[in-house]
């Protein structure tokens, strides 16, 4: 019998075009997602070298980072540089024959939302994109990772990448999550435990009963943030949940191919007895709703906690980091997190902008009002997510509660378009990065789940969503 292999080893092994003496491999890339920010220089490189795109059929392009999310956006992008980037992408996809979802197309959306939504993302594949959150697609049991622009060009020209195998880490989360605790809390808790560099050099496979119980949306949230722990890729073994999600999607295998594909996908999960370079175990019941207090995702605490005191930290580098973070965030050691008031709420990003995320928000928002001191925006992950939400009437709940319901895009996740924080503004955000300036220069970001962000929106401060879940709205209070 051959040696038991992990999911990662199986995907890696089946994509080797060539193994070099130094241990690097030319790895075949099955699917390539392209967006406007990291691709112009790659297409320019192809043109200069007179190269073609090897497999336009395996490539899909979309504009998401730069596009406005206001309702009048079809009038065109007013920022000349953003417009130029989107125009350049449109010119490039035409010239190189790549399928493209433009702003007028309802399939347009965040690159990591539309890949799965179209069924392009499938188990066992290798998938890349010039974006670090490509790790999202690992939720389907695909080896998916972010690359730089030079590698984008390399994949366009050769459909391969030169890579060295990563190490394997398994993170097992067993048991039941408490009410109000979600996939986002799981992954924030993991990052809090292992740190922003804890996954460097590894592919992280998430396992355990709490992970298996997650929907595809939840799994995507978890894999999405693998990069925030330093891992280029996250993986979750494909199962019936995965197959059910994919079945019937436009780019999923059809007819006889479907059965063949499922049979193959079932061979992918890690073999019993496969070994990992590192193992981490968490109990689901120990995870409380999480919120970040600092300027990277590892600076996280349970909502029941307090802002830490740097003077109690012995490691000098860490102490400096916390001091600087608290100064930037305008927070004092010992402050209860639930005492921190906010100015804005951003619900969106490739981490949390899918239909299920919006349903969670609606549950909390229903019958409540966004606090008077808060501006809250909801940016769906794609035009199709938006359409689905409207079909379910979620938009009415949002609008009635006072949320701004917008068009699809990256929006205030990275603030490349007009959606940004002003200096000093504090935001409850469902995105994935809270670096200094990420959501606008001087802006202060607290990362959390959609339910927690909704709770913050209606109370005007960081809030333990479990209190709102336990306390249904009374008609007298609603609509005030």
């Amino acid at each position: 019998m051959s040696k038991p292999r992990t999911l990662f080893e199986k995907i890696w092994g089946s994509h080797i075009v060539q193994r070099n003496d130094d241990g690097t491999c030319i790895l075949y890339i099955d699917r390539h997602l392209v967006h406007e920010v990291t691709s112009p220089q790659a297409f320019e490189g192809l043109r200069l070298a007179q190269r073609k795109v090897r497999r336009p059929d395996a490539t899909l392009a979309v504009a998401d980072h730069n596009v406005p999310t206001s309702h009048d956006r079809l009038k065109g992008i007013t920022d000349p540089e953003s417009r130029n980037q989107v125009d350049t992408l449109e010119k490039n996809v035409k010239e190189f024959g790549i399928e493209y979802f433009g702003m007028k197309d309802k399939r347009q959306g965040i690159v990591h939302v539309i890949g799965p939504e179209q069924g392009m993302t499938q188990p066992g594949m290798t998938i890349v994109c010039g974006d670090s959150h490509t790790s999202t697609h690992g939720a389907f049991g695909a080896l998916a990772f972010g690359i730089g622009t030079s590698e984008v060009e390399h994949v366009l020209a050769t459909q391969t990448l030169l890579q060295r195998p990563a190490k394997n880490m398994r993170i097992t989360v067993d048991g039941e999550l408490a009410v109000g605790v979600t996939a986002k809390d799981i992954v924030l808790a993991i990052i809090g435990k292992i740190g922003t560099a804890g996954g460097t050099g590894y592919v992280m496979e998430y396992a355990g009963s709490a992970i298996r119980k997650l929907s595809m949306e939840g799994r995507m949230t978890v894999c999405n943030m693998s990069i925030e722990a330093g891992a280029r890729a996250g993986l979750i073994a494909p199962d019936e949940t995965t197959f059910a999600y994919l079945k019937g999607r436009p780019l999923a295998p059809q007819g006889a191919d479907w059965d063949k594909a499922v049979a193959y996908w079932k061979t992918l999960p890690s073999d019993a007895g496969a070994t990992y370079d590192k193992e981490i175990v968490l109990a689901a019941k120990d995870i409380a709703p999480q919120v970040t207090w600092g300027t990277n995702p590892e600076a996280v605490a349970p909502i029941t906690g307090v802002v830490p005191n740097p003077e109690e930290i012995s490691d000098e580098g860490r102490k400096d980091f916390i001091k600087r973070a608290l100064e930037y965030m305008g927070l004092k050691p010992g402050t209860k997190l639930t005492d921190v008031t906010i100015d804005k709420v951003f619900i969106g990003s490739c981490t949390n902008s899918r239909i299920e995320d919006l349903r969670e928000v609606a549950k909390i928002a229903k019958g409540r009002k966004v606090a008077a001191n808060v501006y809250a925006m909801i940016v769906p992950g794609s035009g199709l997510v938006k359409e689905q939400a409207e079909k379910e009437g979620l938009d009415k709940i949002f609008i009635e509660s006072g949320f701004d319901w917008r068009e699809a895009g990256c929006s205030m996740c990275l603030a490349m378009n007009a959606d940004k924080l002003q200096p000093g503004e504090r935001c409850a955000s469902t995105s994935n990065r809270n670096f200094e300036g990420r959501q606008g220069r001087g802006g202060r970001t607290h990362l959390m789940s959609p339910a927690m962000a909704a709770a913050a929106a209606v109370t005007g401060k960081l809030t333990d969503v479990r209190e709102l879940v336990a306390k249904p709205v009374t008609p007298a209070k609603a609509g005030v």
Partner: protein, 201 residues
């Protein structure tokens, strides 16, 4: 691609951990469709006030560090996004090597594609180099011999042979891979036989 062999000059100390790509080059400067011209935005928010005036306390606004060719920093340098604008901005500013105890994966990789050498050294060595850099001592980074020399001390570092070879010779990755085009085509043929759905569109 730019070649890298041996580099001597001023090293700027940046004694911070987790220097992320948003700090190296904030997103408002990612709207370019060129690779060049980003040096003036390098470390924008650390270097300039919102009004655009220099912050005198930031190292790259001080002499002789305006002419730095090496940057010395602490753990997990380059974490965050995949933006290659980060190495482009460093390169355009004139920084051709970064020394740190550890780097984030994608950034590390992106450096090699752009003629920048990321050097990983043990924490103690980096601390010594941070001090030497603060004292304006010159640093030499010698890739062929895999060593950093400063203040009469020598520090050896590891680098993958293939990356070293490409950097020293300024080789274009794509051209190298396309020399194996036959293998790529053969792989595709076999995969198409086994997993036809991957080629169905």
């Amino acid at each position: 691609m730019n070649k890298f062999t041996t580099l001597s000059g001023i090293a700027a100390p940046l004694p911070m951990v987790n220097v992320d790509t948003d700090a190296i080059i904030p997103k408002q400067f990612l709207k370019t469709i060129e690779r060049t011209g980003l040096g003036k935005y390098l470390f924008n928010d650390l270097r300039f006030t919102p009004e655009g005036t220099e912050k005198p306390e930031f190292v790259l606004n001080q002499e002789p560090y305006r002419k730095a060719v090496v940057l010395v920093a602490k753990e997990n340098f380059g974490c965050g996004s995949s933006r290659e604008h980060a190495p482009w901005a460093l390169m355009d500013f004139g920084i051709h090597a970064v020394i740190a105890p550890s780097f984030a994966d994608i950034f590390y990789n992106n450096c090699f594609k752009n003629g920048i050498l990321p050097v990983t050294l043990p924490k103690e060595a980096v601390e010594t180099l941070l001090k030497a850099a603060a004292e304006k001592k010159e640093i030499t980074v010698d890739l062929p011999n895999q060593r950093v020399v400063c203040d009469n001390k020598t520090y050896s570092f590891d680098v993958e042979p293939f990356r070293k070879h490409c950097l020293i010779n300024g080789l274009d990755d794509i051209g190298l891979t396309l020399e194996h085009e036959k293998n790529i085509a053969a792989y595709e043929k076999e995969q198409k036989g086994k997993q036809p759905w991957l080629y169905a569109t």
